[in-house]
Assembly symmetry: C2
Homo-oligomer: 173 residues x 2
Amino acid sequence: MKKKNIIELTRIDTEGYRHLKKRPLKVVCDNVRSMHNIGALFRTSDAFLVDEIILGGISGCPPHPEIAKTALGAENSVAWRHVDDTLTELLSLRNEGWKILVLEQTHGSIPLQLYNRPEEERAVLVIGNEVEGVDQAIVDIADACLEIPQYGTKHSLNVSCSAAIALWQLLPS
Amino acid sequence: MKKKNIIELTRIDTEGYRHLKKRPLKVVCDNVRSMHNIGALFRTSDAFLVDEIILGGISGCPPHPEIAKTALGAENSVAWRHVDDTLTELLSLRNEGWKILVLEQTHGSIPLQLYNRPEEERAVLVIGNEVEGVDQAIVDIADACLEIPQYGTKHSLNVSCSAAIALWQLLPS
């Protein structure tokens, strides 16, 4: 099988992307500190037509050379904004009818593969800080907590990897 | 819902992990240069009980401070080895009955979600260099090329993110 070259990998340009219909899913970063993780998240969100990335609290924001290094331009295609207070923003989105899905291992969390998201459900996926995870006050207002079952020695996955898995699962091709 | 603390997130220790039955899937890195990507891959492989990571060519190897920073110890739980010549290694694995699955966008590649892997199939997932992808000579000997459908402006995902998605899909919980 011949690998596709960059021309055969037909992709839309940034201007065209802006007009493309997005999937009704936003990603909210609750204090995601690493620029590498933010950059990778932009690239995954670009690929899967995420509605918007909301960078909360101390989450890294473009423009930043470390984000650019992993986002490779996806920071210019995916809509994003920064909010100081993530909890207030989520309460407001919930009032507008968005479902709050938190990616976190909690008592009562649902294994990710068992969450059946209706295709048109407007949902927000909240991912958390590399060390602390998602803040308990945010977990408290979640409609559901989703957990990626893990069988090894470590307590969590890298946050850009778990976000990628969750977006793949919640936004089926 | 209350977040689980580190004690409630019961995890096995490194010694116990060595004796745990692994899934029959190896990950082969074809010149994966970034230590951050290698570290994140170790963590994902630890979580999903990957049989072994084979670090081919110029792929970064433990011990390395940048790998440790993202692997967070998973470089001590997951079995790994380095090979100079990835193609020769894959030919040898294929002779032993391992199926060669390449994560690459090729003419004739299968959308990842459509590949039905029998649970006990012994398979090798090959992931490629951050810029060049998987070498064409390796693609040429693949039993199947798997592609993650992407709808945005960028031509690929971050390699640790695409590996995470592929492992999640190929090793269902």
